[in-house]
């Protein structure tokens, strides 16, 4: 969820909740206020009624301004003491609607006759007022919230501009490895962020460069002494003076030097991929690429009597890749499928729109499948390889945003490559 969406959503939820509670309280207060006004009016009317009762005996037709209805009942003895306020609902005779009334009931003695007097007053006008006021307030609240949203978006955009810029620069850091330097900041927090980012990315860029130079130099500088050792052993084994024992020693040296130089050149390759030194992009047809490498590896395939099944369904699709890296990717995947295949097993190649599947028979991994693409992780029983092939594959995939997945089912290893569009 985006920061703006999240903050808007939070503001909306919180303010709605707040306004709802405030609305309820406001409504209650308003209602109580109008009720107490009504009661006070009824109190005043009581005095008027009492005055009139002193003057006249015709209580039933007593009509006074401000009173909606007046009921005077003669009673034998006082029903209650004091004054009672209450609410009641009555049906209007004219339009047959129920209306709510507020009433005041009290006892009145005239001579020795007691009367129970009830004064009714319609709550209609006050209810209307409360209704209107509430409606108006609600409308204002809605307008207010809408205003806040618009303002929020505007303020948000200008306030967080530098933050988004920082994110963009950080994203680019992955590729360019250049320190992230932001412009002048007038917000204290962003100023801190700016300084922290600058220090951090400067150090990262520096470390990266140093490591790169180090690997670069080491691998390069190793080549010459390796070449010397290799050439000297080549000369030494030509000697007639050496016996079987010395030759055995020389063989061990020779094998190790050979391994070391292969290891060195593979590590150089990985470093070069990491440094993104393969940037030439060419159009490559996946089916042609696979066929070419199968041809190059046909001896290896025949030696293990491996059957190759091809299902090319990508319609001759072209992918944009560096030729060298594409070769590296396919060669290493195929080599892997041959080396770890069982004798007389099969390799199935399947291409589809946006995918490549390479699967081969073979015993399960002897290590955790999470470690498959890690450098130097390999089947320890098999000597002579370094476990670098698949980490090369992974590096190439990372370079081109290809998602590679590995699975093992029914004694088959499967690599699925999801090619980006």
């Amino acid at each position: 969820m985006k920061l703006l969406t999240k903050s808007t959503l939070l503001t909306a939820t919180l303010s709605l909740f707040l306004f709802f509670i405030m609305g309820v309280i406001f409504f209650q207060v308003l209602k109580n206020m109008s009720l107490s006004t009504l009661d006070r009016e009824l109190g005043d009317l009581k005095e008027v009624v009492e005055d009139h009762m002193l003057e006249t005996d015709d209580y039933q037709n007593l009509s006074l301004p401000g009173i909606d209805s007046l009921v005077v009942l003669p009673v034998e003895r006082p029903v209650q003491t004091g004054v009672i306020f209450g609410d009641s609902v009555m049906r209007d005779l004219k339009d047959k609607q129920f209306r709510t009334f507020r009433y005041l009931q009290f006892n009145k003695a005239k001579g020795d006759q007691y009367y129970l007097v009830t004064i009714f007053k319609s709550t209609n006008p006050t209810d209307k007022l409360v209704e209107q006021v509430t409606l108006m307030i609600t409308l204002m609240v809605i307008l207010f919230i809408a205003g806040i949203f618009i303002l929020n978006r505007f303020i948000f955009g200008s306030l967080w501009k530098d933050f988004f810029e920082a994110i963009e620069k950080l994203k680019r850091f992955e590729k360019t490895k250049e320190p992230v330097i932001l412009g002048e900041q007038d917000i204290q927090e962003f100023d801190e962020l700016k300084r922290v980012l600058e220090v951090m990315t400067r150090r990262l860029a520096n470390d990266y460069r140093e490591l790169k130079e180090y690997t670069d130099h080491t691998t390069h500088e190793l080549q010459t002494p390796l070449a010397v050792i290799k050439s000297k052993t080549d000369l030494l084994i030509q000697s007639d003076k050496l016996g079987a024992h010395e030759m055995k020693l020389l063989e061990a040296i020779n094998t190790s030097v050979h391994q070391l130089s292969r290891l060195n050149s593979t590590l150089t390759l990985i470093t070069r991929i990491e440094n993104r030194q393969f940037t030439a992009e060419g159009e490559i047809r996946l089916d042609k690429l696979l066929d070419r490498h199968l041809e190059l590896l046909h001896e290896h395939i025949e030696l293990k009597q491996i059957k190759v099944e091809k299902h090319y369904n990508d319609g001759g699709r072209v992918i944009l890749m560096d030729q060298g890296l594409a070769d590296l990717l396919v060669a290493n995947l195929l080599k892997n499928a041959i080396v770890h295949n069982s004798e007389g097993g099969t390799i199935i190649l399947e291409t589809g729109p946006g995918s490549l599947i390479i699967s081969n028979d073979g015993p399960p991994l002897t290590f955790d499948k999470e470690e498959l693409f890690t450098r130097f992780v390999r089947d320890t029983k098999r000597s002579g390889n370094f476990g670098l092939g698949l980490s090369l594959v992974k590096k190439v995939c990372e370079t081109y945003q290809i998602i590679i997945e590995y699975s093992f089912e029914d004694q088959r290893h499967t690599f699925l490559l999801n090619l980006p569009d």
Partner: protein, 228 residues
């Protein structure tokens, strides 16, 4: 049979010189750019081996200069740099081959022979070893006038052996020569054994003695003598 070697690493230079002299080549040495320029037109060289990383100048410039100076010579770049662009650059500058350090001396000799063949004689050359005759350009092989059907790899292997006759070559060297980047990293040298076995069988079926001698497991020697 004169070869110019331009290489600043003294120890490697010594190795190359001793090995090539064992093969009967005469070697001229230059340890830096300027010495190399000076000796460039002193002789006609059958082949020049030029390191790209030289004190005093750019090896690539030297390659261009050497190519202008002598169109007939074979030029092999020997370099520690193994990137495709550098290989392409080297070949475009006029080199005939590009050998990446570290390399086997046996491979160097095989390449020198092959480059020399390509530049000196435009086909028609016949290589002879005892009863074997090979036409490298036509890719034909004969034993006593009888044509022998060899696969491409078997023929390459035979040429490699013939270039390094009488020398011990390691199985790693053979794998590197035959497969380049594809060889060696399997840990097993099954392919070398297979091709070697087939080549041996075919030659012996044609009536040749077994020229290939196993040397204590370290490698093989292609020679006439029956000892070792």
């Amino acid at each position: 049979m004169r070869i110019l070697i331009v290489e600043d690493e003294n120890s490697l230079m010594e190795s190359m010189v001793s090995y090539l002299e064992m093969e009967g080549f005469k070697c001229e040495q230059a340890a830096d750019y300027h010495t190399a320029v000076c000796v460039l037109d002193k002789h006609h060289y059958m082949c020049m081996l030029i390191d790209l990383n030289l004190p005093g100048g750019d090896g690539l410039e030297l390659v261009k200069l050497a190519r202008e100076n002598d169109k007939e010579s074979g030029i092999i770049i020997i370099s520690a740099r193994n990137a495709i662009e550098q290989r392409v650059e080297g070949l475009e500058a006029g080199a005939d081959d590009y050998l990446v350090k570290p390399f086997h001396l046996s491979e160097l000799v095989a390449r020198v022979h092959s480059v020399a063949r390509r530049t000196r004689l435009k086909g028609g050359e016949v290589l002879v070893f005892d009863r074997i005759r090979v036409q490298p350009e036509e890719r034909n092989c004969f034993v006593d006038e009888k044509h022998i059907d060899l696969t491409q790899k078997e023929l390459d292997l035979l040429l490699y052996f013939m270039a390094n006759r009488g020398r011990v070559v390691t199985k790693e060297g053979i794998a590197d020569y035959l497969w380049g980047d594809y060889g060696g990293d399997y840990g097993s040298y099954d392919f070398v054994y297979t091709h070697l076995k087939n080549l041996r069988r075919k030659l012996m079926e044609a009536g040749c003695p077994d020229y290939v001698h196993n040397i204590y497991g370290i490698g093989y020697k292609f020679s006439l003598d029956q000892e070792t």
